[in-house]
């Protein structure tokens, strides 16, 4: 799984759009959406929302957590907690980035929101780095990573899993050597 594939998964998350066109209910393989009427909010997957937005056929209502107040609170929680705080969405970084890139006019204070998202993800990345160092120092057999989002897992996946693989190969050789002598 690379970053594009994780973003692909995030695009399945549902968001609310306010269309400016009329259309009956659309039956897709993965669900029914609509009916679409001007000024009537309706729920669609993010990929569809972005596509409609690009054609200027709708406004996107940002998720309730994508604003300065909520994110400031989350940033505070993240700084105060030693563990990873549960985020409002498992794909919060991707959803925020996609909406900021494609519908920044639908978001109030987009620059502040973008900065907050970056602060939160930086704070979490720092915790993750510290966690990795602890795991190696303590010779852990496994590590708990509750509330880590798929995007964050992807950012360290190959580095962390391969390092652990190598460490355990080295250790099992060391053990064998110790029992032989």
């Amino acid at each position: 799984m690379d970053f594009n594939e994780i973003e692909f998964l995030a695009e399945k998350e549902l968001v609310t759009v306010v269309p400016n066109f009329s259309e009956d209910k659309i039956t897709l393989v993965t669900g029914d959406y609509g009916p679409f009427n001007p000024s009537m909010p309706t729920t669609v997957p993010l990929w569809l929302a972005v596509s409609l937005k690009k054609q200027q056929r709708c406004h996107i209502q940002p998720p309730e957590w994508l604003n300065v107040d909520m994110l400031t609170q989350k940033k505070q929680d993240e700084k105060e907690s030693e563990l990873f705080v549960e985020m409002p969405s498992n794909h919060f970084i991707e959803i925020a980035t996609i909406l900021l890139d494609n519908a920044s006019d639908d978001i109030t204070q987009p620059d502040e929101v973008r900065a907050l998202i970056k602060d939160i993800s930086d704070a979490r990345a720092a915790k993750l780095k510290k966690g990795i160092v602890d795991m190696v120092v303590e010779r852990a057999t496994h590590g708990k990573v509750d509330n880590l989002t798929p995007m964050e897992v992807t950012s360290v996946r190959s580095f962390l899993t391969q390092s652990l693989d190598q460490l355990h190969i080295l250790r099992s050789h060391a053990n064998q050597h110790a029992t032989q002598t």
Binding site: E5, L9, G143, S172
Partner: protein, 209 residues
Amino acid sequence: MAESLEDTMDSDFEYRRMTIKEVVEKIEEAWQNEKLSPELLPAKPDLLECLVEHIKSLDESLSELSAADLVCSILKQELDRIKYVVCNYLKTRLQKIERYVWYYCDHPSHLSQEETKYAKEFASNLDTHLKEVVLQHLPTNFQDINKRKATLKPDTTRYVFMRALERKSNITIKVSGYSVTLDVEEGSQVVLPYESVSELVREGSAKLL
């Protein structure tokens, strides 16, 4: 007669009661796990066949509609997303089969019929290629390949990230001589060796991250 049909259709039975939406979800789950697991997971030929048939019929009905139509373009976009997952899923499996071709020729239990056929052809082509390019130019006593030594096996001790989809206790983790057990709650996420959770991933009570 009816009984024997039911027996052979056992694995089919489940998907016959599924909606196409559930089939897509199952394939998407299988795709994510397949991308992240070191070994080949059990093939899902029935689900795939069902989905590919559906894609074909959708493709046909869409080709009759005008591309400029909004609904049509939305349907096409969704279809493209589904096709992407199916192609990527199959490609991921083929990459593993090619990499561990000799191993999977001997252990074809997780391969579909088509994949088994592909693996055999790939192995025989590889044999011919190695012979023609190198082996036949070597002295006779160097011309054998020791397949037992040359066979690459999927390494199931590799570390993976997993998310528990239900509560499980006593997961055994064995690493370099140590052995510990672990209990997980629904939604917990752990980085640990693949072999300790391979069974859970196969039965669907854990997914790889």
